[in-house]
């Protein structure tokens, strides 16, 4: 009897090493530890052992039982590891460089540029206004101090409509409406700060540089003490934000009936930094946006007292900005609906600058 546990242990050790799968081990467990297994058999036999030896014999059986239990658990663990390893070995190594989900959607580049610029202005306290594409002679010209016989009002520049209206030729057409909208709030002491992006239309022949349908953005600021000095400061700050770098600006006199004085604002060429290159026709400057102090007649037309309030206005060519930003050379791309071109402007919520400033 006393030899039997040792023999059992030996038998188990032989078998356990042959068990290669967890099913084999389970088989062993039943064979040795099951209700009718070898260990149980030994326990049955314990009845025949004289009482004074029972304790020792029982201990021996127990030792073997514990040994087998331990070994089985160990073996199961080992086999599990082996099986996992097999899964790992046989697993496919995924190629992350495979082109996946090639069907990304895309935004129109104007939407991307407009969103960027709008968020800059919103952070500077400007409201973003909406304005129609169709307007009338009063809003597009009359209220902007553009006299009846100004060439801008000729048929060759403006699309006139059968409804006695016209397609707005510039976003300045929204000035009168916006000024009126905020007149009361201005008089209660809140400055007017507003931008209005929108599509404009000019009766032009279309080529790589000219479109009859394009986007502009107008901005105005009106308050009690807005000066030319403020205008220059603001334009420089705003453009540095838009172009995500420090921008040098210069102002030249420019004539627009709705501002006085009016300016053409140039920025130092972004490509050559002002040294002169083909992009800036060797001048070192790029003509970027017209701006100026709002003409007193324009304020008056909106019911705002020009003796008390002054302000400035500026226009940004959004289409032009998008061309600069993305290196689009042919303006016709924008209205082409050509998805081979437009689908490149994929899910971009914003563009982080390449040479981001580390300073706060």
């Amino acid at each position: 009897m006393f030899e039997k546990p040792a023999e059992l242990k030996k038998l188990f050790e032989e078998k356990v090493n042959q068990a290669a799968a967890s099913a084999d081990v389970e088989q062993l467990r039943i064979e040795f530890l099951g209700k009718k297994g070898h260990v149980a058999e030994l326990m049955q036999e314990l009845r025949n052992v004289p009482n004074e030896l029972k304790k020792e014999a029982g201990q021996k059986i127990n030792e073997v039982k514990q040994f087998i239990e331990g070994a089985i658990a160990e073996r199961i663990e080992e086999i599990k590891k082996l099986e996992e390893q097999k899964l790992i070995d046989s697993a496919e190594s995924y190629d992350e460089s495979m082109p996946i989900n090639a069907d990304l959607g895309s935004y129109h580049p104007i939407t991307l540029v407009r969103r960027e610029v709008e968020s800059i202005f919103q952070s500077m306290g400007f409201t973003v206004e909406d304005y129609s594409e169709i307007t009338d002679d009063y809003n597009c010209f009359e209220a902007l101090n553009i006299p009846k016989h100004h060439p801008a009002r000729d048929m060759q520049d403006t699309y006139y409509l059968s409804s006695n209206q016209l397609l707005k030729t510039h976003t300045s057409a929204a000035q009168n409406t916006i000024l009126r909208k905020y007149k009361a709030s201005l008089e209660s002491g809140k400055p007017i700060r507003a931008i209005f992006p929108g599509r404009c239309f000019r009766n032009e022949k279309i080529d790589a540089c000219h479109e009859n349908t394009f986007f502009q953005m107008e901005g105005i600021m009106v308050d009690e003490e807005i000066s030319i000095s403020n205008l220059i400061y603001f334009m420089k700050t705003m453009l540095s934000e838009v172009f995500q770098r420090d921008i040098t600006v210069r102002l030249r006199p420019g004539f627009f009936p709705f501002v006085e004085p009016g300016f053409e604002l140039d920025i130092s060429c972004l490509i050559c930094g002002g040294k002169g290159c083909p992009s800036c026709k060797d001048s070192g400057w790029l003509e970027l946006c017209p701006c100026g102090m709002i003409h007193p007649n324009v304020l008056t037309a909106a019911g705002i007292d020009p003796e008390k309030y002054t302000g400035f206005a500026f226009g940004l060519g959004m289409t032009r900005l998008a061309m600069m930003r993305y290196g689009v050379k042919d303006i016709r791309v924008f209205n082409s609906g050509n998805l081979k071109a437009l689908s490149q402007f994929t899910e971009k919520s914003f563009t982080r600058p390449e040479n981001e400033s580390k300073e706060a």
Partner: protein, 787 residues
């Protein structure tokens, strides 16, 4: 416009001033300079030579062999010009020198050595005269540099005409010189005007018929003009400023125009005795001096001699009264016509001239007499025998009102935001010709006539004068004093952008921009009719004139044009359409989201349901509401008669979803399918969003109940929904479709209704009661349980 620095120097002393810097400050203070040319830089080592002998070339009829005295030596020159003679003084370009055509080298020409080149004016780049080599009228010793004789060296700059549109005074050198004087702080010299005195009785009779179109008409007669060719100095200036030399009188009128901006016209005096300025009674033909027959309408101002038309006022003279070479006497017209009338006439004629371009800018009528004075002065200085042969006629029929503006120093400070000294203000305004009265900070400024035709009318205009000369680069810049206030969210806009985000990021659609008018030709390809609407009156292509009343056709056209882009794609745009006109006849502009989905494989049904999914998502995400649909008859004939539905929120129509009519689908593509929808964002934005209503999750066990239902042919799911929604059960947590079956007119659907209560585990009896009620409702609309 081209500006010659030599010419400017006639009126402002620029000695010791860096010209390039000065031109740059002109750009910053006055108008943009587009280009600077250094004239004469490529004329080097060209000297006065004298032809000592002329021999014919033995083998060439054209060439001559010359010996030319160049002062320091005698050169052998092979010359092809016909006008060579012994004793002639020539412009000799020496070997080692250069002319605009290139470097001059010793060369062998037709077997003979040539040590230089005798030049024509054209070869020196000083005119386009090229009939022969120059025949210099000079006593200068041989070897003298040609540049010592003629003003070949000059700096010429080009100003962008567009930046001069509001400055009539800058359309001549004298006005530019005034700017330079103000910029440099130097004196502007006055114009030298000839003596107009005349003893006789003769005077040109002038009648102004249309006083509304004329400010002033001045004229004078000169006679005994014997010279025909203008001096080289003058021709060089004209040429450098972009004009061709013609003959003395034409050149002098051009010269005056370039100098003071006032166009003049020299009539052949033999053809003129009684000038009438008026418009024709009826349309007529008229041949201008460029030998073109033009049609003149009743609104075009003309100059007549008696009844005979002789010129189109302010635009061009007639061929018949042109000055020809034997003209010994001229009548000089120096007039100020209405700028708008000249612009309109020239635009109707399709003929813009240097003169009309200037009149358009509203010239100062005070200039007419300056022009007369300059004409007499210049002609006499060139041809001393010429004399004034009539009294001056000067009809000043309309005047611009003098302008006087008052403001104070405080106003200037407020407008500029900086402190520009009174001294600086006065100096600037005076230099620019303004009359300035100043007392204790108060200014009264009279505007000079040349700025008073439209340019300077209010005190803000004076600010510009002060600041531009002060220099914007010199401004101290400062931020506004008003504090930033937070900007209120514009939810309409936020919804538009959210809709775009959903379509791009969730459904991989592509955003496009399209034109607001219909392209009739492209519509036709898809069999889409252009529907009547507000139209653009002046668009070049008449197929394009009508404004769109829906986004969908434009996008269908674009979808059709992108067939080689991918197998399956969708595009969208938020744009404007015109929904007819309002009671005042004004366009109803609407902001609409248009979407078109395209699938080459032609599975229309799944495209249609994809569109429904997008609509549900947009409405769900932005409004927390459910989209409703209701079939409608097609609104446009390209829409599918059966599958066109309006999109509803809270029962209110916000848009339309449709498949294509089979006829249009066939034109689109044989196999492909396209589905379109449009949401009126104005209506959409007006609908309030529901807030998210939070429901505590129940800790109780839920119970579900599956119903397999047999539907009628036209039963809609929304009708089934109503059958359980009617009960208003708080315990009905969700309903899901778990199976559908459709075959040969038999439609069946299995729905799983999940019930749960907050406070108890539901008993089957209770649930069965609800199910019975639901089944009763279903029965009422003809829906039964599948056997």
């Amino acid at each position: 416009m081209f500006v010659s620095i030599n010419w400017i120097k006639d009126y402002v002393d620029l000695d010791g001033i860096d010209i390039k810097k000065l031109i740059n400050s002109f750009t910053l203070a006055t108008a943009e300079v587009e280009d600077i040319f250094e004239k004469g830089a490529d004329v080097q080592k060209v000297v006065v030579g004298e032809i000592l002998s002329v021999e014919n070339h033995p083998n060439s009829k054209k060439l001559h062999l010359l010996k030319v005295d160049a002062g320091f030596k005698v050169c052998d020159i092979v010359c092809g010009a016909p006008n060579v003679r012994v004793g002639q003084k020539v412009a000799l370009a020496l070997a080692g020198g250069r002319v605009p055509g290139g470097e001059i080298n010793i060369a062998t020409v037709a077997g003979y050595q040539s040590e230089g080149m005798c030049c024509s004016e054209k070869e020196l780049g000083i005119s386009d005269e090229h009939n022969g080599i120059m025949d210099l009228e000079t006593d200068a010793p041989n070897g003298t540099d040609i540049k010592a004789l003629y003003p070949i060296d000059d700096i010429v700059f080009e100003v962008d005409n567009k930046s001069l549109t509001n400055r009539p005074d800058l359309w001549g050198h004298y006005g530019i010189a005034r700017e330079f004087a103000a910029l440099t702080g130097r004196e502007l010299k006055s114009l030298k005007l000839g003596d107009l005195s005349y003893d006789g009785d003769e005077q040109i009779d002038v009648t102004v018929g249309r006083e509304d179109l004329v400010y002033r008409y001045s004229c004078i007669k000169m006679e005994n003009i014997t010279k025909n060719v203008s001096p080289l100095d003058m021709r060089i200036r004209l040429y450098y400023c972009g004009m061709r030399g013609i003959n003395l009188l034409a050149d002098v009128t051009n010269y005056i125009m370039l100098e003071i901006g006032q166009p003049t016209h020299a009539f052949n005096a033999n053809k003129i005795d009684n000038i009438v300025v008026s418009t024709p009674k009826e349309k007529m033909n008229f041949k201008t001096l460029d030998n073109v027959e033009r049609v003149i309408d009743e609104d075009t101002l003309m100059i007549y001699n008696g009844n005979e038309p002789v010129a189109i006022a302010g635009i061009m003279g007639g061929l018949d009264s042109e000055i020809v070479e034997d003209t010994g006497a001229v009548v000089l017209e120096s007039a100020s016509f209405d700028g708008i009338s000249v612009r309109k006439s020239s635009s109707r004629l399709g003929h813009r001239t240097d003169a009309s371009a200037r009149y358009e800018k509203m010239l100062d009528p005070e200039l007419t007499l300056d022009a007369v004075g300059r004409f007499v002065e210049i002609v006499k200085s060139i041809d001393p025998a010429a004399r004034v042969a009539s009294k001056l006629t000067d009809k000043y029929v309309r005047r611009y009102a003098p302008i006087s503006l008052s403001f104070n120093k405080k106003y200037v400070d407020k407008y500029t935001g900086i402190d520009i000294s009174d001294e600086q203000i006065m100096k600037t305004l005076t230099a620019l010709g303004f009359g300035v009265e100043y007392k204790d900070g108060d200014y009264t400024v009279s505007v000079p006539s040349w700025r008073a035709t439209k340019d300077v009318t209010i005190k803000a205009d004076i600010i510009e004068e002060i600041t531009r000369i002060y220099g914007y680069d010199n401004f101290a810049i400062s931020t506004t004093r008003s504090p930033l206030k937070p900007v209120a969210v514009d939810y309409s806009k936020a919804e538009d952008e959210e809709a775009k985000d959903i379509l791009v990021k969730k459904y991989n659609l592509h955003e496009v921009n399209s034109y607001v008018w219909c392209d009739g030709r492209k519509y036709k390809k898809l069999g889409i009719d252009v529907e009547d609407n507000v139209k653009v009156l002046n668009i070049e292509n008449s197929d394009n004139g009508i404004l769109r009343n829906s986004m969908m056709p434009t996008l269908l056209v674009m979808a059709n044009e992108n067939k080689d882009f991918a197998e399956k794609y969708g595009l969208f745009e938020i744009g404007r359409v015109v929904d007819g006109t309002d009671e005042n006849g004004r366009a109803n502009e609407k902001k609409r989201l248009g979407v078109v989905l395209y699938d080459k494989s032609g599975d229309e049904k799944s495209l249609y349901f994809k569109a429904v999914e997008m609509i549900n998502c947009i409405i769900g995400e932005t409004k927390q509401k459910k989209a409703g649909y209701s079939k409608i008859a097609p609104e446009h004939n390209w829409q599918h008669p059966k599958n066109t539905a309006e999109i509803l929120i809270d029962g209110k129509k916000v848009g339309v979803l449709c498949a294509l009519h089979p006829a249009n689908r066939a034109k689109f593509d044989k196999t492909a399918a396209a589905v379109a929808f449009e949401i009126d964002m104005n209506s959409f934005n007006e609908i309030n969003a529901a807030s998210i209503s939070f429901r505590e999750p129940s800790a109780q066990q839920s119970t579900y109940y599956d119903l397999s239902l047999v539907l009628g042919e036209n039963t809609k799911f929304s009708e089934l929904e109503a059958c359980w929604e009617k009960l208003g059960l708080a315990e009905l947590e969700s309903v899901k479709v778990i199976d559908t079956y459709e075959k040969a007119g038999f439609r069946s659907i299995t729905v799983r209704l999940v019930f749960i209560a907050m406070d108890r585990t539901l008993e089957m009896d209770e649930v069965q009661g609800w199910i019975d009620s639901i089944l009763a409702n279903l029965n009422a609309i003809g829906v039964s349980i599948r056997a």
